[in-house]
Amino acid sequence: LMTAKSLASKETVNGRCWFYSDDDDGISVYLNRELHAMNTVVAQLQTQFQDYLVSLYQQGFLDNQFTELRKLQDEGTPDFVAEVVSLFFDDCSKLINSMSRSLERPENVDFKQVDSGVHQLKGSSSSVGARRVKNVCISFKECCDVQNREGCLRCLQQVDYEYKMLKTKLQDLFNLEKQIVQAGGAIPQHFPSYTILRPDIRPCLDA
């Protein structure tokens, strides 16, 4: 069936795909192959996406709140999750900067301000399910309570690392999503349960 005549080619002109072939069979075969390839690509991407998402839970980057966020997203607001986490990362950056200023001079540390910043960060991280960031906040608060500047600085560094790490991870996840959509596929509506993926760890919040 694959005669020379059946060979067809594809060209994208002005955003539209044009298939060229000497006969109709060639076109349909080609199209089928394309579709199949596309489906395969989509399927592969979808599997990739799913696996990646699950791994983020397994590694403790995300918890059930992130699942809730994804559930809130709908056709009307397809970028909801991306927008929310973007707000979160901006907030992180702002808070970390101000806390850093407060901790700068050892002789004059405004622990109250730092504590307030940690509290806000904790609240923020709990809103998107940024589990690791939130956990650092817990230790951070303890250092504030005893006015341990060294401890605070260490926590500050850690929280900075964690939020940036999460930012990268989520960026990769969103990229996968984009690729799936571009490949004509649908983003898997898979909502991993943190509690199931990490049975060894007691969920902080609860279901």
């Binding site: 809730e68 907030d91 609240g123 923020s124 709990s126």
Partner: protein
């Protein structure tokens, strides 16, 4: 009654300084089909609320706001707009939650908040609307709100003296907690900068103002404040006093049928003057007690209580201490029943003096702390109780304590040496409350004859609520106590405030432990 309430389109104002949360909450609330307005600052929220007084149904606010404490915002909204407010926080510490409740929050949610929690917030709005309707109906129908039985309806409706408390009142549960916590937690209410001592005179002004407003118009704190013309008093002070007064009156109604120990006990050591009491007895089925007193005694009591405003007035914080006899808590309603009876004036009371003795209290539970005016109030209440057919006019002064009304307490025939009479009396929780009322501190002259009891009238705080205005048309014996109000609040919690070292003067001899 509003039957057409629908959660769809509920107008919610969300206040949170965290932009991430604000966006998430907005999305969640929209998913609940609510109409959402977001706000990042407390002041901005207040501005929005004031601009459109009827523009929102409910407010949800975070506790930690940069420009204003979330609790402050809560107070403002509650006082000015009387909207239900839900607090949110990452912090779920009991103390904070309690603070929220104290400041009037109708709920306290922990972050992260779940959809199911937001899906039901409309219930708070509906609940409040229903209460409003009930309050209004109560005003016009002679207290339907507070009397759950028809036969009690006339009690407030008759004399035209009943007071309409118009405005909405908080959820009973939270009211309870408010009463409970209000005075006990020193760090609690930011609205109580300086504690107002509701002296007799002040309360008298209050009740007069309330009476003046009457039932036709809603007696709101603002109107009352204006009429009272007390420069240093704030609307908030009046509002909280009003709330307690209302509660007190409503409990009076519920507790009508309860046995009440009249404050007569306190007056045991008083020489009976024109005493009309003939015997100790309980009215069948009602166990109400009343005192009829000679004029001199009331005066004595009245004056003495008045003379010690500073010592008596201040409602001690909460030391729910009750002496031996009164260990079991007395149902709050009872206490108020006793209060009520005190408002009665002498003449009508002459007919049936009845006296309940403290033994009835033996089975009672510990009473909450009492105000110093228990002694004075108790007899009045007792009188009231005893005169079912008697319509007593409740006056401000009587609310606080029996003044120079003949009605005062005169534990006339209360023979200190007749414990037998006491022991024969049935003990019920109602009696407890009366007992509690008795525990109000009496003036020195009466001290000797009184049993020491720490009753918890904390809810009265510095106020001496000797039922007045609302009591007027009480047909005591016609009251059937509706248990609903009573059952909601355990007796020992009724008055809210923990009694402080309140020493009650009750003659131990009267009570058989």
């Amino acid at each position: 009654m509003d039957k057409g309430f629908s959660p769809v389109g509920l107008r919610v104002l969300v206040v949170d300084d965290d932009p991430t949360w604000l966006k998430i909450l907005e999305k969640m609330l929209k998913k609940c089909s609510y109409e959402v307005t977001t706000c990042g600052l407390a002041r901005e929220a207040l501005r929005l609320l004031r601009e459109r007084k009827d523009g929102y149904d409910i407010v949800i606010s975070d506790v930690n706001m940069p420009d204003m404490d979330g609790f402050k915002l809560l107070e403002h909204v509650g006082l000015e707009l009387d909207l239900p407010v839900i607090m949110m926080s990452v912090d779920g510490e009991t103390k904070r939650v309690m603070k929220g409740v104290q400041h009037g929050a109708c709920d306290y949610l922990l972050k992260p908040i779940r959809m199911k929690e937001l899906k039901i917030i409309w219930q708070h709005v509906l609940r409040k609307k229903l209460q409003e309707v009930r309050d209004i109906e109560g005003c016009y129908e002679g207290g339907a709100d507070w009397f759950t039985r028809n036969d009690e309806a006339h009690l407030l409706g008759g004399g035209g003296e009943d007071v309409s408390f118009g405005r909405k009142r908080k959820e009973f549960d939270f009211e309870k907690k408010l009463l409970l916590q209000d005075e006990s937690d020193p760090s609690s209410s930011s609205s109580k900068k300086a504690r107002v001592v509701w002296s007799f005179e002040l309360h008298q002004k209050f009740v007069n103002a309330v009476n003046q407003i009457g039932c036709d118009h809603k007696a709101g704190p603002k109107k009352i404040l204006d009429l009272m013309n007390v420069p240093w008093l704030t609307r908030e002070n009046v509002a909280s006093h009003l709330q307690k007064y209302r509660l007190y009156l409503s409990r009076l109604e519920k507790g009508k049928e309860l046995k009440c120990y009249s404050g007569g006990v306190k007056n045991m050591d008083l020489p009976p003057k024109g005493s009309e009491f003939s015997s100790v007895h309980q009215s069948p089925g009602k166990n109400s007690y009343a005192f009829s007193g000679g004029s001199s005694d009331p005066k004595q009591l009245a004056s003495s209580s008045v003379s010690d405003p500073s010592s008596d007035v201040h409602m001690p914080p909460k030391a729910k201490k009750t002496r031996v006899e009164f260990d079991p808590p007395i149902s709050s309603s009872c206490a108020f029943d006793s209060l009520l009876s005190w408002s009665d004036v002498p003449d009508p009371l002459e007919s049936k003096p009845q006296i309940l003795y403290g033994s009835s209290f033996l089975q009672q539970q510990p009473l909450p702390s009492q105000s110093p005016y228990v002694a004075n109030s108790a007899p009045t209440l007792m009188e009231q109780e005893m005169k079912p057919s008697y319509e007593t006019s409740v006056n401000a002064d009587e609310f606080l304590m029996p003044q120079d009304k003949n009605s005062t307490v005169i534990l006339q025939d209360l023979d200190l040496s007749a414990p037998s009479a006491i022991s024969s009396i049935n003990v019920t929780n109602d009696t407890e409350s009366i007992l509690r009322s008795l525990s109000w501190e009496l003036p020195e002259s009466h001290h000797s004859g009184f049993i020491d009891t720490d009753l918890d009238f904390s809810w009265l705080q510095n106020e001496h609520f000797l039922a007045n205005t609302g009591v007027q048309n009480f047909q005591l014996q016609d009251y059937s106590c509706s248990p609903s109000l009573l059952s909601e609040l355990p007796p020992h919690l009724w008055f809210g405030n923990e009694p402080d070292e309140y020493t009650l003067m009750v003659d131990h001899g009267l009570f058989i432990s």
